[in-house]
Subunit: 207 residues, 2 copies
């Protein structure tokens, strides 16, 4: 209290409060109840009927509790969306064209065959006019690109592709095709067509 | 009336009606008045205030007249959007990387610096839940891809890229990056970064 650390007392107090307040930590059981409620509401009423208020009511949780963990409706929705999008492979065949083909093929199929495609389209729509949804979508894209770019990093490590290929940018190119297909409702791409598209990324166009 | 052409009388009558009805042809002056009204309303009130009814009122045209020429609000909007998006270059430098860099750089800049980016984002949003808007967006994308793929067709013709490169698919890959940047509000891509992305399309990733 008598030295220079006094300057940081405010911060220390906040940190201390965070340490002692159990409420500030995510309680796994309640978080799961909220996710479950959100999942059910999304399945029953679709995106249009999805609201933090409706989720709070069904989960018997307070809205502030939900907002403490998911700062916006979009973040809660993306959490549920991502957990629902099971069955996404993490291929590691030793061939980048093969890995990306498996990945892209599965992504298009899951969007096509499960409600996840419609949910994600609704979220993209909301992100065009709602800034919180836009932020959540950007963060989600960043996280997904970082994770799926592992395919490209591995190809670099094994010397299959050049060290000059930026894994995140490369993964963004591949993912962008899927997003454009989703927002224009053209997900019906056969595996051979997916492979042709992936080849157009990885192989040279040069004559 | 006594031979086999009787079967097609209905069709003939319709065709004849079309030939004699001047109203069924697009009157250039009135079409221009409608486009002008649509442009003004979009500038003044944005996408949210844009409706066929508002355009009809300002243009002193009937809604049926508008719908005869633009079957949906989305088609009228895309017509206006596209005409406003002036300054889009049609580069033909003799180098595909250069052409695509100029093209993509200009597209991102126009979306960033004029209201066209916001207008197109609103239209993409509407296309996620409105099937007429979705159809209009798909048709627009097809037309734009066909036109901009000329850069890739020329590169093929001059032997710069392989005959195996599908110009439409290749152009869709390039365009998809721009769309993803638009819908995630990340249009601030410097020319050098655009060139790096274009190079990742055209050059081989192979080590």
């Amino acid at each position: 209290m008598t030295d220079g650390t006094q300057d940081t007392d405010g911060t220390d107090a906040e940190a201390s409060a965070q340490r002692t307040s159990i409420g500030a930590r995510r309680n796994p059981a309640t978080a799961e109840a909220i996710r479950l409620a959100a999942t059910e509401i999304l399945a029953e009423k679709g995106y249009a009927g999805f609201s933090v208020e409706a989720v709070a009511r069904r989960a018997r949780a307070g809205k502030p509790t939900i907002y403490r963990w998911w700062p916006s409706k979009a973040e809660l929705l993306l959490d549920v969306y991502h957990r629902q999008k099971t069955g996404m492979p993490e291929p590691d065949t030793g061939s980048l064209v093969e890995d990306l083909t498996i990945y892209l093929d599965a992504l298009l199929r899951i969007w096509r065959e499960t409600p996840s495609g419609t949910v994600f389209r609704s979220l993209i729509a909301e992100a065009q006019t709602d800034s919180a949804a836009a932020r959540a979508l950007r963060t989600y894209l960043d996280q997904r690109l970082d994770q799926s770019a592992a395919m490209i990093r591995r190809a670099r490590t094994r010397g299959e592709i050049s060290e000059t290929v930026d894994p995140l940018l490369a993964m963004e190119l591949v993912t962008s095709l899927a997003w454009t297909r989703l927002v224009t409702d053209r997900l019906d791409m056969e595996t051979a067509a997916v492979r042709a598209a992936v080849s157009l990324f990885v192989e040279s166009w040069r004559a």
